[in-house]
Point group: C2
Chain length 214, copies 2
């Protein structure tokens, strides 16, 4: 049986995105700096269907994040804010024709909608019954593989607070954003154990296990 896990980039001061997030700037002011380490990686580019890129100490964590992923859960904002009503039949999210998930993706929403099958084995399912129902469906779809909580920070925080996460990896980026969206904002606080640390250019990868799970 797989585990329920997430991975996310975090600033030194604990933010997943900078202040003043908007449709035009979903990462918030300064938030792009949280992701610079990943954009040039060969492993990440390959996942996006792109060629080239560098291989370094971060490559392993990207390969691992993809490996063994059997299903993905995300909030509706991560599926796509979109140009029109996000749940219009014509709107397929902002991940393009071939989204980089390559698994069933369960989107938390209040709007029922038919499943949306994309290229490359990604199908979006829209779940209106809450995080528990989405997890049950994702576990069933994943079988022996992992369920990845894709984001955003709010969605991850809800699963953490509900005690439904087994393991996670933080990509700690040496930047201070001063304000923005926090991951661990007043959530109930599970006990965690440090599993592994990787120092890489411009980022440190910190893997944790939630005590008593997995």
């Amino acid at each position: 049986m797989g585990v329920v896990r997430f991975q996310i980039s975090m600033s030194l001061d604990g933010y997943m995105a900078g202040p003043r997030q908007s449709e035009e700037n979903p990462l918030g002011v300064g938030g792009l700096a949280l992701h610079q380490w990943v954009f040039e990686l060969e492993a990440w580019r390959r996942w996006q269907g792109l060629e080239g890129g560098v291989v370094n100490e971060s490559s392993q964590t990207i390969e691992e994040a993809r490996a063994n992923a059997g299903a993905t859960i995300m909030g509706r904002n991560m599926f796509g804010g979109g140009p029109g009503p996000w749940d219009e039949p014509a709107w397929t999210g902002w991940w393009g024709d071939e989204p980089p998930f390559h698994t069933p993706v369960f989107v938390l929403t209040h709007h029922a909608r038919e499943p949306l099958e994309m290229k490359g084995d990604t199908t979006f399912f829209f779940v209106t019954e809450g995080i528990g129902a989405a997890l049950a469906q994702a576990l069933a779809a994943a079988g022996d593989r992992d369920v990845v909580i894709g984001g955003g920070a709010d969605t991850i925080g809800q699963y953490l607070a509900a005690g439904l996460v087994d393991a996670f990896e933080l990509h700690l980026v040496p930047v201070l954003l001063g304000d923005g969206a926090r991951l661990f904002a007043g959530a109930d606080t599970p006990s965690v154990e440090q599993v592994r640390v990787i120092e890489a250019p411009g980022v440190t990868h910190l893997a944790y296990r939630v005590a008593g799970r997995g």
Copy 2:
């Protein structure tokens, strides 16, 4: 010339102390967990005048924190909340007869007081003219050695926000406190560079340099 630096333990959710700090519980609820990694270290015990203890991957960071320290700066709460008025002549703080600093210590306060000479080369000087004056005096006392901002989190935050810190080390502890005292709480945000990472039992040591300094 030395650098101006600090080191501090931080929870995964960015706290230096838990919620509801008080004179009886200065670390706040759950805050003791931030310091478990250090208490059993031989290097730390030796610094406190104690025998025994373990040697592990954390020992190096403790040795380095002590090495080359020429002066220390701290807030009045770190000097000692104390049983009576903290600035009574009879009150010598809560560090005992032989405090573990072994340097001149500049205490930020609004109450002028004569210097207090302790055993083991620690002398407390009480500075009423603010953080800039304390730093100037500490730099003069340190000579070619480093000035260590000892704490607490408020004092460190003031020096960070004023752009007076050259380097720092975070001891990131796998615990979630949910609430408490944050280090990087709305401070102006310097650019930092990752210098070194050490994975150790129950803690990860992360060293940073402030860009353009030191």
